[in-house]
Amino acid sequence: MDMLQFILITSGAIALVGVVCGTALAVAARFFAVHEDPRIEKVAEILPGANCGGCGLAGCTEYARAIVVDGAAINLCAPGGNEVIEQIAAFLGREATAAKKMVALVLCGGNDTQAQKRHAYNGVADCTAAQAVNGGDKACTYGCLGYGSCSRICPVAAIEICDGLAKVHPELCISCGACVKVCPRNIIKMVPADAPVHVLCSSHDKGPVVKKMCKVGCIGCTLCTKQVENQAITMDRFLAVVDYSKETPGKAAAEKCPVNCIIAADDSSSDAQPEVLQNENN
């Protein structure tokens, strides 16, 4: 038996096995075929794959299916940003409609040194749990409880608890909105990342009541509303509220605020937002 013959037999035999197997597979594939739009997979690949649920669906693949099959809007993926929107638009031949970059913001400034407690809470260290036990331990019923439900649910660890107060790091936030949903006191809001001014308080209590409970709570003095034009800050039941659709520099308002619960863009980076993320181990 010469070498060539041997090689031929070998490859022939293996090929035979391969053909038999291949045929069987082909038959099986025919009988058990599953039809799925191949574009779903492609769109899912474009999406960031964080599965954060910010679009309102169970995960990136589900969102991809919604886009391709149900024609859902393509600008719902906050973590992906404009880049992803453009890619999907190009792939599916749809129009790209950019969304404004939003970040989460905790509308409370009352940390443990500035806000009073009403009782000594003992139990599960979780905001929802603490809220369920006699309404939470912070004296102000609008204040951040600081047990970190938002920080635990955040998929990118962008929320830090400092001195009993949750703080969002805007540069890390992917605006999935998970924290907004989980907060039992509904004091986390999505705000435009470039908004110039924020009121860090959610209390609708009257001034004297607020004053008793918190050093940095909005007392409803209305001074700030007079510092801005076109009603970018308005009063709503003793609380100054920023209308983010109107862009107004708020430095003057921040300076006038007697309780310092208003922060304006140019000093927010140094003062209001701590730079270093501490390692949350418990």
């Binding site: 070998t10 035999a13 197997c21 597979l25 099986a28 058990f32 599953v34 181990n281």
Partner: protein, 192 residues
């Protein structure tokens, strides 16, 4: 009959594929997070290992040996096993899409799984006759299934444990697998 029973005990307990021979670790770690998924994996592995050991034996005995090309054993076996796994994959995608999704990448990974390959090669090495090969393949897959099911139970406990950061995830799972294999040492000498 006795030899088959001993063969089964040996392959399931004494020389457990996962815990004593350390074969098939990849799906062992990969699909041990939820019991239903693990059970699905067990079913797939039992099917693939049993039928693959039968077919590889036939291929080896009636194609490779007569042609004198048993050095092609590895390639031929991979071909056969890969087709089997692909078959399971296709069928499962149609009949049990949820399970298919849960198994994910680990289903095709049986293809190159050393456990399946190992049973085929061991059959050749130990010169098992046909029936014994099939029984051995079946018993080995049962051993894999036993280890996987036990480990899945443990995994559910470990996933709620609180190991230090550097041990979280697969590391602690491997430690546990090691301890489990330590416990399985007790069966050594059971079949002499």
């Amino acid at each position: 009959m006795t030899q088959y029973i001993l063969l089964i005990i040996s392959a399931v307990l004494v020389n457990n594929f996962v815990l004593t021979r350390f074969l098939g670790i990849c799906p062992f770690l990969g699909v041990s997070k939820k019991l239903p998924t693990a059970l699905g994996m067990c079913g797939a592995v039992v099917f693939v290992m049993t039928s693959a050991s039968a077919v590889t034996w036939l291929v080896h005995r009636f194609i490779l040996i007569p042609l004198g090309i048993d050095f092609m054993q590895t390639i031929a076996f991979i071909l056969v096993i890969a087709s089997f796994v692909q078959m399971v994959d296709i069928v499962m995608k149609k009949t049990a899409p949820a399970l298919h999704g849960a198994l994910g990448i680990f289903l095709p990974l049986i293809t190159t799984n050393c456990a399946v390959m190992g049973v085929a090669v061991l059959n050749v090495q130990l010169t098992h006759p046909f029936l014994k090969s099939v029984v051995f393949g079946f018993a080995a897959s049962l051993g894999f299934a036993l280890a996987l099911i036990i480990f899945t139970g443990l995994r559910e406990k470990i996933d709620r444990a609180n190991p230090p950061k550097c041990f979280q995830g697969v590391a602690i799972a491997l430690v546990t697998a090691g301890l489990l294999s330590l416990a399985f040492m007790g069966f050594s000498g059971l079949v002499r």
